[in-house]
């Protein structure tokens, strides 16, 4: 998984009805865009050091804009 600052990370909900968790990648700490990432979550809005699991996807800025 690779990302750049400004891209969005989405963590899928684990249970039925549980919403996905969205955040913005503020900083990439790993080499060549790899984790860990500093992520600012939409909710609660704090920045944390995050190691994504297999249920996380990076949504590139262009793709996000294209949907809107």
């Amino acid at each position: 998984m690779r990302a750049q600052p400004g891209e969005q990370i989405r963590v899928r909900g684990h249970r039925q009805g549980e919403p996905d968790r969205l955040g913005m990648i503020v900083e990439v700490r790993g080499p060549d865009g790899t984790p860990p990432f500093v992520v600012r979550w939409d909710d609660p809005g704090h920045e944390v050091l995050f190691f994504p699991g297999p249920d996380a996807v990076i949504e590139h800025v262009e793709a996000s804009n294209a949907r809107q």
Binding site: P44, L49, F50, F51, P52, G53, D55
Partner: protein
């Protein structure tokens, strides 16, 4: 105070390919309530004793199923050199009780809510000890004022 001053060193980690039974046995051996799941050295998830009960036992998932079938994917971590207040901030804004501690992308420790409460309680006791002594034994009497004529 830094996170590394408070963290429990050598947390239990397991490869993502390990089984639910392996995790339960590891928790039993190490007397811990959570295992950090790693791929290589990098954390990718966490499994707690509660996860084993609610996501595995309650749903009759067999003990030889892979851990990634019950783990919480993605791990909120804290850097070992971060200030301890950062852990308090994470615990107050995320529904978690344990925060793995990392150096670069390797797990080197764990800080739990319980650890933090014990630490803060001890610190509070140190601060209040002086006040308690004054309440119990009174202030030391100052020297009588000297009247200069």
């Amino acid at each position: 105070m830094k996170v590394r001053d408070v963290m429990v060193k050598a947390p239990v980690t397991m490869d993502i390919g390990a089984t639910i039974g392996d995790a339960a046995a590891a928790m039993d051996r190490a007397a811990v309530g959570a295992v950090v799941i790693v791929e290589g050295e990098r954390p990718v998830g966490i499994v707690t004793d509660r996860d084993l009960v609610t996501r595995a036992l309650a749903r009759r998932v067999p003990a030889d199923a892979r851990l990634d079938s019950v783990m919480s994917g993605g791990v909120v971590c804290v850097d070992a050199d971060a200030e301890l207040s950062q852990v308090a901030s994470i615990l107050s804004t995320h529904p978690i009780r344990r925060v793995p501690v990392v150096e670069r992308d390797r797990v080197v420790g764990m800080v739990t809510l319980d650890d933090l409460i014990v630490r803060l309680t001890n610190d509070l006791h140190s601060v209040t000890a002086g006040v308690m002594a004054q309440l119990l034994f009174g202030h030391p009497e100052p020297h009588a004022p000297v009247m200069v004529v």
